[in-house]
């Protein structure tokens, strides 16, 4: 931006603050305040129906570190995040490379790819539930690998949720990576071709390194999003069977909305929040150290 010295600069600053104020106020009221309040609630015993509200200090946290259900929910959440993000990244990269290679029916393909992204998660979960019900699902499809009732079988149910998430989010990943691919200058490819590099070698020596930054951003965005997974699991299995698909958000939700325990529920929510914060922080540390070494 040009830095014209101007007498209007003070005015401009004041106007700028005024123009930002409404958005800032709303964000403080509906995002910052609730998050801080949630942390505050996590130190309390708060059960609405009993009109019970008192400060218990670290009491909820003392319970948390001995709560086996919390640790299994944490494990499920990590598993869901790692597996779905990995699958989305691999599939997304394949989709992106295909779209970038000027395939036939490119416009149709790009429109179709947006369909899963636009579907509400709840609708996609219900849609997929039909496929996962085994014999009770879509008998006329006669797909034999679905003979198991995935949603009712521990070990299968979580993968059903992952499948829905992968279906819904791969397009987003593909589009981000495609945008990265489009930005790679043709000259790099020409140079690789001149050196007689095979297409596989070009991919690993040119494409992947240039994509590194956008890959990192994509992984972060997706991981933070997957870590707070709620809709898919809630609609598909409600955390079952036998809590084998219960993620942190679902456990916190049930504790608050069904158990009525807002204190401990907030503790679980805060724990989720801290995990997300740690992931974000770790990411920026890694990115920063990379920038420095360059």
């Amino acid at each position: 931006m040009s830095a014209l010295p101007s007498t209007g600069e003070g005015k401009e600053r004041r106007a700028g603050r005024l123009m930002m104020a409404p958005a800032v106020l709303v964000l403080v009221a509906v995002a910052l305040y609730p998050t801080l309040a949630s942390i505050w609630l996590s130190f309390q015993r708060l059960i609405l129906v009993f009109h019970e509200r008192r400060f218990v200090g670290m009491g909820n946290y003392a319970f948390l570190v001995r709560d086996a259900r919390f640790f299994s929910a944490l494990g499920h959440t990590v598993y869901f995040t790692v597996v779905s993000v990995t699958a989305e990244l691999v599939l997304g990269l394949v989709f992106a490379l295909l779209l970038h290679a000027r395939p036939p029916a490119k416009n149709l393909l790009r429109a179709a790819i947006l369909v899963p992204w636009a579907m509400p998660t709840v609708v996609s979960a219900k849609m997929w539930a039909l496929f996962f019900l085994g014999e009770n699902g879509l008998p006329f499809f006669g797909i034999s690998i679905f003979d198991v009732n995935w949603l009712g079988t521990p070990g299968y149910a979580m993968h059903a949720a992952i499948a829905v998430d992968v279906w819904k989010t791969t397009p987003f990943v593909a589009l981000l990576l495609l945008a990265g691919l489009v930005g790679i200058p043709q000259s790099l490819y020409d140079a690789a071709a001149l050196d007689g590099a095979s297409s596989l070698r070009t991919f690993f020596a040119v494409t992947l390194p240039v994509l590194r930054r956008i890959l990192a951003v994509t992984v972060l965005l997706r991981a933070l999003d997957a870590f707070r997974v709620f809709d898919v699991v809630y609609v598909l299995t409600d955390g079952g069977p036998a809590n084998t698909t219960e993620t942190l958000s679902v456990y916190a939700y049930k504790t608050m909305m069904r158990g009525g325990d807002f204190g401990y529920g907030s503790t679980l929510a805060t724990a989720t929040f801290l995990c997300v914060l740690a992931m974000g922080g770790l990411y920026f540390l890694v990115i920063d150290s990379e920038e420095e070494t360059r």
């Binding site: 700028g16 123009m19 609730p34 949630s38 036939p104 179709a112 790819i113 369909v115 509400p120 939700y253």
Partner: protein, 269 residues
């Protein structure tokens, strides 16, 4: 030739991946209940499921609710967001990084971390079980989204145009209204689509803050479909098609805009 054939194969695979589950849903919605319950092949198509999905349930009402909530969220986000984004992109002032950084941080908050205080706040305000509660809470994710996308669009407007307006004596506010907004219209339209879709799809707040059936949004209505009877899959499929098709149409129609808006934030900068 071989390369082309391989590409076609890949294209068909990806098309199948994206569209087959939806087609399965459409097929299911058109099958009579008996075919779903066991008959190996469907013998006749029928619209019974659509009748069933719409009868005795406020599904149309839910659709209207969803559109009203998503529309209001989009409107407020664009008003607040376009003003703030313009200031962020074009005005000389301190603290800009803080707002964008803060918005980025907020967009990463897990919604579950805000749900209990928001619930208590909404109760205090007397907004429980009202669509207003949803519009208010949807700001938590919709406004940061608006800020990112719109700030980038405003940055693309050359500074020279803005400087010229300033020399002509426009205040920053007038510049936003007379020059920024009209020039950023394509960006505003793209942002609107993005925000609308994300609000239309929201589930956690909607299921927490709404209790009356006639105030439910579409995702909540569909998630609670089964509880009244034993898994009426055909009707669920019909309802899903009714809820999903408008979104699919919007998406296909505006695909270019959506892709630009979606990818802009992550790629540049």
């Amino acid at each position: 030739m071989r390369r082309r054939a391989l590409q076609w194969l890949a294209v068909l695979a990806v098309l199948g991946f994206c569209v087959v589950p939806l087609l399965g849903q459409v097929v299911t919605s058109l099958l009579p209940a008996q075919a779903l319950l066991g008959a190996a092949t469907p013998s006749a198509w029928s619209l019974d499921n659509y009748r069933g999905a719409l009868q005795g349930r406020p599904l149309v009402r839910s659709l209207v609710n969803s559109i009203v909530v998503a529309g209001a969220t989009t409107f407020f986000c664009l008003v607040l967001g376009s003003m703030a984004s313009f200031a962020l992109a074009k005005l000389r002032m301190r603290g800009k990084r803080w707002l964008l950084g803060g918005a980025l941080a907020i967009s990463m908050f897990p919604p579950i971390a805000t749900v209990s205080p928001l619930y208590l706040l909404i109760r205090e305000l007397g907004l429980r079980d009202s669509l207003g509660a949803l519009v208010l809470s949807y700001m938590t994710f919709a406004l940061p989204l608006t800020l990112f996308v719109l700030t980038r669009f405003f940055r693309e407007i050359p500074d020279a145009i803005y400087e010229a307006a300033r020399v002509d004596g426009c205040t920053p506010f007038q510049t936003w209204w007379r020059i920024g907004l009209p020039l950023a219209m394509p960006g505003i339209a793209s942002t609107a689509i993005l925000v609308f879709i994300s609000a239309y799809n929201e589930f956690l707040y909607a299921i927490t803050f709404i209790s009356s059936p006639d105030k439910r949004t579409v995702p909540v209505a569909i998630s609670l479909f089964a509880s009244d009877r034993i898994e009426p899959w055909g009707e669920i499929a019909a309802a899903s098609v009714i809820a999903g098709i408008p979104l699919v149409l919007v998406t296909v129609l505006f695909q270019r805009r959506i892709v630009t808006a979606l990818t802009q934030g992550a790629v540049k900068d």
